[in-house]
């Protein structure tokens, strides 16, 4: 239905001292409906800036974003967002959080209730609707965030390190959940992460970005996400080609980091 097109997007920040930073330079990418794309890169490569532009929170200094035929000019319900943590509304119950989008749109009460109930079920939180969000663990809160985003039935789901603050065990479970929801809903998902393993597991396509200026450095098409839907994620991680890819990408990022360090330390 609606492909997400990133057309020659650039973002240049001006600093108060007059110099400029090229956070993103000439990024072009086409993401087809239903694709699962992960974006990886060392800190400072502009991946969060890119996601904020996709969401419509930032207007790029060059180029444009299109979703289907419409140009993105600001945030709207077509592109849902899942944040790292702390973006839930703690003055609302779990069910109220999940139903927030439809409620703002003025959907009928019965429809919202049914939708919330179904979503709580699919993220494994049935029976938690009346709890306060601060009574839940970090992993459960992220389940609420996923359900809240899905309740709006967006075309694209943008995830900004959604699992970054979770402990390793919870994280692994949540990775499985993300894959399951992707399969069930067929949504386009763009996921930003700084974990190489997570990027490999949760990306049909994996984009590696490089810093200064922020740009696309490499792109992979990967079989792991598709396999992970049916299989145990730990089995996927044990595949020899998974290990090879991981080492390859890790050393790529290492090189970038060393280059940055070198630049920083080199006498001007």
């Amino acid at each position: 239905m609606a492909d997400l097109k990133i057309e020659a997007v650039s973002m240049t920040f001006s600093l108060p001292n007059g110099s400029t930073i090229e956070a993103l330079k000439d990024i072009s990418l086409e993401i087809a409906q239903g694709e699962l794309v992960s974006v990886l890169g060392p800190s400072g490569c502009g991946k969060t800036t890119l996601l904020n532009i996709l969401a419509g929170f930032l207007a790029p200094t060059g180029g444009q974003i299109r979703l289907g035929k419409t140009e993105v000019t600001g945030p709207d319900r077509a592109r849902g967002m899942v944040f790292q943590q702390g973006a839930l509304f703690e003055w609302m119950s779990v069910a109220k959080n999940v139903g927030f989008g439809p409620r703002m749109a003025g959907r009928p009460r019965a429809e919202i209730d049914a939708r919330v109930e179904g979503l709580l079920q699919s993220v494994g939180l049935q029976g938690f609707g009346d709890k306060a969000v601060y009574e839940l663990s970090g992993g459960m809160q992220q389940r609420v965030a996923l359900a809240r985003c899905l309740a709006n039935d967006p075309d694209v789901i943008l995830m900004d390190e959604p699992l970054g603050a979770l402990d390793a065990l919870t994280r692994e479970k949540m990775q499985g959940l993300v894959l399951k929801l992707w399969k069930e809903t067929g949504k386009t998902i763009v996921l930003i992460t700084h974990s190489v393993e997570e990027a490999l597991l949760l990306g049909e396509r994996l984009i590696v970005m490089a810093p200064r200026p922020g740009r696309i450095h490499a792109e992979y098409r990967l079989p792991f996400a598709a396999r992970g839907v049916g299989e145990d994620l730990r089995m996927v991680k044990r595949l020899p080609e998974f290990g090879e890819r991981r080492d390859e990408i890790l050393s790529m990022i290492w090189e970038m980091e060393e280059e940055i360090m070198g630049k920083a330390e080199a006498p001007v």
Partner: protein, 308 residues
């Protein structure tokens, strides 16, 4: 000086006694009791009930002992005794309270004196909040209004409300309106600043989340920014109530025909020290009660405070 030494001696004695007793009967259990490091671990420090009760008892004991009270067997030597005009014994204050509660003071009943002060505080605070909270929101949400009101609010905030009393008297005289306006001014800046910091404290990710879930500006304000600011507004309200209570008493000291502050002011002119003490104790009790009530209200209305 002697008094201070006696006080410290009593403190030390009771402390040693309770410490010794608690080593004898170590019946308490649970995490806190098993901690070996308590000095420096704030979470292991609980106010000791025994100490609190003993503290109040010691104050009354010293007071009674030095005023020749009939409520105690312990008396200070005769030449250390206070004269009632300086410090009456506790029972005088107590009986004076019963007397005034029954017969009133200066044409008004005790309840009228206290309730008028409380009414002034609540009315002044109400208007201060009514104007201050929207003002704070405006400052938190709009650059122009922030710039416009910042100098005024930042200048008025450090001016103690008491310093405004002379001006308010010149402008509005000494009637009810003048006192309400003074208290309004005392509460206004505190509430404005509390509301502003409540708005400023909203996490950007919550705002972003609401927008990408399809919320309009108005819906964002109603469902995200306002509830998010509530804990800060409550903290401000507690401070404002405290300041207003202090200000009303001071204002009544200067000019009033009834009220809690008026009572102690008039009594002091006639050297009715027992009434002065009674008034001070009542003012303290009411101020404390207001704060406790606000805290209970806060726990009931904003249970999510500090849990973001």
């Amino acid at each position: 000086m002697t008094l201070l030494l006696i006080y410290i001696a009593l403190l030390a004695t009771i402390w040693a006694l309770t410490a010794w007793l608690s080593t004898r009967i170590r019946s308490r259990d649970g995490m806190a009791a098993r901690k070996t490091v308590t000095f420096g671990d704030e979470s292991a420090i609980r106010p000791s009930r025994v100490a609190s009760v003993a503290s109040v008892a010691v104050v009354f004991l010293i007071w009674a002992a030095f005023t020749g009270s009939s409520w105690t067997f312990i008396h200070a030597p005769a030449d250390w005794q206070m004269r009632p005009i300086w410090l009456p014994p506790p029972e005088n204050v107590w009986f004076r309270l019963l007397d005034i509660a029954a017969n009133g003071y200066r044409n008004f009943t005790l309840w009228e004196h206290l309730s008028i002060s409380i009414w002034r505080v609540f009315t002044g605070f109400f208007f201060g909040a009514l104007i201050g909270i929207p003002l704070g929101f405006a400052m938190g949400l709009n650059s122009f209004l922030r710039g416009w009101f910042d100098p005024i609010v930042e200048f008025m905030r450090p001016v103690p409300p008491l310093a405004l009393i002379p001006l308010v008297i010149i402008w509005y005289g000494i009637d009810e309106k003048a006192k309400i306006i003074l208290l309004f001014l005392a509460a206004l800046w505190i509430m404005a600043i509390a509301a502003r910091s409540g708005v400023a404290g909203v996490k950007l990710s919550k705002v972003h989340a609401a927008y990408s879930l399809g919320a309009s500006k108005w819906q964002l304000l109603r469902h995200v920014i306002m509830p998010n600011a509530l804990p800060d507004i409550f903290t401000g309200a507690r401070v404002a109530m405290g300041v207003c209570w202090g200000t009303v008493v001071a204002a009544e000291l200067v000019a009033a025909e009834k009220g809690a502050g008026f009572t102690i002011m008039v009594a002091s002119r006639f050297m009715q020290t027992d009434i002065v003490l009674m008034g001070i104790i009542l003012i303290g009790v009411i101020g404390y009660s207001i704060d406790v009530a606000m805290r209970m209200l806060e726990r009931w209305l904003v249970p999510w405070k500090g849990r973001g």
